[in-house]
């Protein structure tokens, strides 16, 4: 170290730096010599090899897009396949005057500005000499017209390519989703190399959620072409691997029954197997034809769908949020028993309204004249509001919210599709967090009959009902039963997943509520007794009516005078057979009026179709 403290010696230091400079110079010469050596190998030694390769650019590398996986229902009915359709495609490098060619093509085939925009977009991301589609889905007349005149156009081709097709059209569209043309945004989410040559990608629903299974992997072909770019022979090929097939839990015929049961009404219905969470039917009405979206929907068609007041594009089953109304009463009834706030035979007097201590406001029952003395069984089967106002008052919002959360209210079910929403389970924390307001006692009451801020999605409601029917075991609902792996066609089952298990304090408590729900359908005064005629099995159910707009204190709701758009939503939840539930159903009919007359019959048709045809 002491040597280091010496004075600077410029002579020594300059000699040091010069030595290093010389070393560096030698180093550069060696490394550049290596580069020159490499160039010598490329340009002199292997000249013949590379010269042949470059000769008139004969080698082209083509991406071979994989065929998209098929989708089957639970019985093997094809829900989505791929059909050959003719496409008008262009190889940019072979077209001398692109604008003129595009102009002249208009004589033989129509294409929109949208097609043109897509064409220009995709030509940006293509490698040289790859075909770029200009028009998809040519009809026979167009193909014929073009084929005759094709000799006039260098670099223009008609190619048959497999395109996604939904053979049943609008049937089950909200369960499946659909594919559309790949755009810039999609490419950011996937490996661009894998999608070289792929024109379609899942945009919504299952098609999007299982994109990684359905897509498959890209193949590569080295081809030799002539001076005009026409393929002479294939030099080497690694074929693409088809995407995996999906086998759904959906029962196509059940789905169809449910769709038809809605007739021209709007709403949603979800049927779930409560023993494993498999979704048997997932309906959102109205429906639309997804095939329109595959080949690029026209602005006019899209506008019509988007702007329709019926909102066919909106997936009500997953994204629609509705007040659950009286369908929550069995849950609260059970909560009361479990918390020992109520006994099965405790009676509450219903005089048509309920008053909070020290408050003027009347909390009305839907039955103006009141129900009289009500026990739990009567209160559920006749859907008495006052009983549940009183129960809610005594339970308190905290216990209510905690209990309902255990049945999946207020959280996503985790279904394997896109667009699912949370619903809303009102609680003190929610109100403070989202509105910065304290909780008012009156809100506890209206939450107790499933109104107020309370929101559920139809899927959530069906899943909670299924969890109830299996005495507290809640599954993650799912649409896919198994994935069929390509190329060995192994079917890999997707295991059912339990997402919540409520432990009953007393099994009897559940029996009481369950019996009350059976009475809803089979009891003499049950609100849904209208659907029990000729029923070959026993059903437990609950009707519900959700207010779309609030009625003022001194007004009366009159179905006849209220505009259809403002009419109440009709709800019905049920499970059957009551002794050993195999299906749980939730039905919501928008502006349908009362649950008993509109929603319950749809649920009956679904249960009939499933239970009677299954056996």
């Amino acid at each position: 170290m002491s040597k280091r403290e010496q004075l600077k010696d410029d002579f020594l230091e300059s000699r040091l730096i010069r030595r290093r400079l010389v070393l560096a110079a030698i180093f550069t010469v060696i490394l550049l010599g290596l580069v020159l050596g490499r160039l010598y190998v490329l340009q002199v030694v292997s000249y013949e090899h590379f010269s042949t390769l470059s000769d008139s650019n004969r080698i082209r590398i083509k991406a071979l897009p994989p065929t998209r996986g098929l989708i089957f229902d639970r019985h093997g009915v094809v829900m989505a396949n791929n059909l050959p359709t003719y496409r008008l495609e262009i190889v940019r490098e072979q077209v001398t005057d692109l604008d003129a060619t595009l102009q002249q093509l208009r004589q033989y085939v129509e294409y929109t500005d949208q097609d043109l925009k897509r064409f220009r977009q995709s030509s940006k991301r293509r490698r040289p000499f790859e075909t770029i589609p200009l028009r998809l889905n040519l009809d026979d007349a167009e193909v014929a017209r073009l084929a005759v005149n094709l000799h006039k156009f260098e670099g223009v081709e008609i190619n048959a390519r497999l395109t996604r097709n939904y053979p049943h059209g609008e049937h089950a569209v909200h369960a499946l989703g659909y594919v559309g043309r790949v755009d810039e945004r999609d490419l950011r989410e996937v490996d661009e190399v894998e999608y070289a040559g792929t024109t379609h990608i899942g945009k919504l629903g299952l098609e999007k959620f299982y994109e990684h299974e359905l897509h498959g992997s890209v193949g590569v072909q080295q081809v030799e072409v002539n001076a005009n770019g026409r393929t002479l022979r294939v030099l080497s090929e690694s074929p693409p691997i088809q995407g995996n097939n999906l086998h759904l839990t959906i029962d196509s015929s059940l789905q169809r029954v449910a769709e038809e049961a809605f007739a021209d009404r709007n709403g949603a219905a979800v049927a779930i197997d409560p023993t494993n969470g498999e979704i048997l039917a997932l309906v959102s009405m109205p429906i639309f034809n997804p095939n329109l979206f595959v080949n690029g929907i026209s602005y006019a068609n899209y506008g019509a769908l988007r702007d329709s007041p019926e909102r066919p594009l909106f997936n009500r089953a997953l994204s629609g949020q509705y007040p659950p109304g009286s369908t929550t009463k069995p849950f609260y009834g059970l909560a009361g028993l479990e918390a020992r706030v109520n006994q099965k035979d405790d009676k509450t007097w219903c005089g048509g309204y309920y008053l909070l201590p020290n408050e003027e406001r009347r909390y009305r029952d839907w039955k103006k004249e009141g129900h009289g003395h009500m026990n739990l069984n009567d209160a559920i089967s006749q859907s008495c509001d006052v009983y549940f106002y009183d129960l809610a008052y005594r339970l308190g919002i905290d216990r209510m919210a905690e209990f309902m959360a255990q049945f999946g209210f207020g959280v996503k079910t985790g279904v394997d599709s896109t667009g699912e929403r949370n619903g809303l389970l009102p609680s003190r924390e929610w109100k403070r967090g989202h509105e910065g307001m304290p909780w008012f006692p009156g809100e506890t009451l209206i939450t107790g009959i499933g109104q107020g801020a309370f929101l559920v999605t139809p899927l959530q409601l069906a899943n909670s009902t299924a969890a109830f029917s299996s005495r507290g075991t809640r599954y993650q609902p799912r649409l896919v039963k198994s994935v069929e792996k390509i190329p060995d066609y192994n079917r890999i089952d997707i295991a059912s997943r339990v997402t919540g298990r409520y432990q009953l304090l007393k099994p009897k408590n559940w029996e009481h509520v369950h019996n009350a729900m059976v009475n809803v359908v089979h009891g003499l005064r049950g609100t849904a007794q209208g659907i029990n005629r000729g029923m070959e099995y026993r059903t437990a159910g609950k009707t519900g009516t959700a207010q779309v707009f609030e009625i003022a204190q001194d007004e009366e709701y009159d179905e006849e005078t209220v505009a259809e758009k403002l009419r109440d939503h009709a709800l019905f939840v049920s499970y059957a057979p009551a002794e050993d539930p195999k299906i749980a159903v939730a039905v919501i009919v928008e502006n349908g009026g009362s649950g008993s007359s509109v929603a319950a019959p749809i649920a009956r048709q679904i249960m009939d179709a499933y239970l009677l045809e299954e056996s």
Partner: protein, 373 residues
């Protein structure tokens, strides 16, 4: 007109150059290279005159900046180096927060009237600050100096690497470490660092590199494995160069180049156009011109009369070499694809300006001691 220039022309030119403090040897080599580059660029852009004109304008602007840099006295360079460095690092941090994203990386800073990459400043500022710091210390550098200098270098390198811009990070890092190398870092330290780095390579591979960077390195080992992705560049570039043969296909006659098979052919991959059209013979000539420029820089460094000049001029010349080596190595399929242009030939203005200013600094160092050529 020509008569008056006849006998006195040499001395008049010499006097003008001296007044502008320019080095005639280095300057003429740079001009030859720039002219050569314009020819190649004309071919690489598919005979696009407008592009060549734009590039010509850039060369002129860069030359003027070269003259300006050559006229900054050396003692001034030493004074401003700290501010240049701090300013550059500050801008790099600014880019991290406000920078524009171009081609997937955040490199550009938009000041309203001009868009530029602050990382370019560091290509000069880093060797300047390290040279300033080491110039007054006792050489060979001791441990403390080594640590301080390494920190000075690594801060901007890390910032640039995470933009991510591996090419510029390599250039800035090597500029800094060349100063250290010239200042006599002991061999055992260099060797142990080398060993340490190789030992850490698997870790770096796993944590420091982006997916696309790993892919590029793998692709280099086996380009055929990814013919649709990054292997495509290398395959096509090799075909272009190899098919050039000994004398090349001739200017504007490169079929690979003209038919658009080579990606980025006017920027990072311009050497494959050159190789195809001018062959092995042309490549040798071009690399010799480059080598002459590097040697001239090293010569000036060796003959400077103070350590600052020796270290800075040497490091800048060697950084120029790194440009050349990384680019040609990449195009010839020896090194992974990193975004380093072929110096003074690739289309684009940012690296051109920095490089020319670097040569301006070398000329300023030369004229600090008026030695004869």
């Amino acid at each position: 007109m020509n008569q008056s220039l006849d006998s006195d022309s040499v001395s008049i030119t010499r006097r003008i150059l001296d007044a502008l403090r320019l080095d005639p040897v280095l300057l003429s080599l740079l001009v030859i290279l720039a002219l050569f580059g314009s020819l190649v660029l004309y071919s690489a852009t598919g005979s696009d005159q407008a592009a060549v004109l734009r590039q010509g304008t850039r060369i002129l602007v860069a030359m003027m900046l070269l003259v300006a840099a050559a006229n900054v006295p050396v003692r001034m360079l030493r004074k401003v180096s700290i501010w240049l460095y701090l300013g550059g690092v500050g801008l790099l941090v600014a880019v991290m927060f406000f920078g524009e994203v171009g081609k997937g990386a955040q490199r550009w800073l938009d000041l309203g009237f001009i868009r530029f990459q602050p990382s370019e400043i560091l290509k000069l500022a880093v060797p300047m600050i390290v040279a300033t710091y080491l110039a007054d210390r006792v050489l060979p550098v001791g441990f403390k100096e080594l640590v301080v200098s390494s920190v000075l270098v690594m801060i901007p390198v890390m910032l640039i690497a995470r933009q991510p811009d591996l090419g510029t990070a390599i250039l800035v890092g090597s500029a800094g470490f060349f100063v250290l190398f010239l200042a006599g870092v002991r061999w055992r330290i260099i060797i142990s660092l080398g060993v340490l780095f190789s030992a850490m390579a698997p870790l770096l591979w796993k944590f420091a590199l982006h997916d696309y960077q790993r892919k590029r390195i793998l692709t280099l080992l086996d380009p055929e494995s990814d013919p649709l992705g990054s292997g495509y560049h290398i395959i096509q570039s090799k075909i272009a160069i190899g098919s050039g043969g000994v004398y090349g296909k001739g200017w504007l006659n490169g079929t690979q180049s003209q038919l658009d098979f080579i990606p980025e052919r006017s920027t990072d991959f311009i050497f494959s156009v050159f190789g195809e059209e001018f062959g092995f013979f042309g490549s040798v000539v071009l690399i010799l011109i480059y080598l002459a420029i590097i040697f001239r820089g090293l010569y000036i460094a060796a003959h400077s009369n103070e350590n600052f000049g020796r270290l800075l001029a040497g490091a800048l010349s060697l950084t120029f070499f790194v440009y050349l080596f990384v680019n040609t190595g990449m195009v010839a399929g020896m090194l992974p694809v990193v975004g380093v242009p072929l110096p003074l030939i690739s289309y684009g203005g940012t690296s051109m300006v920095t490089l020319m200013m670097g040569f301006g600094l070398i000329m300023s160092i030369r004229s600090a001691k008026r030695f004869l050529v």
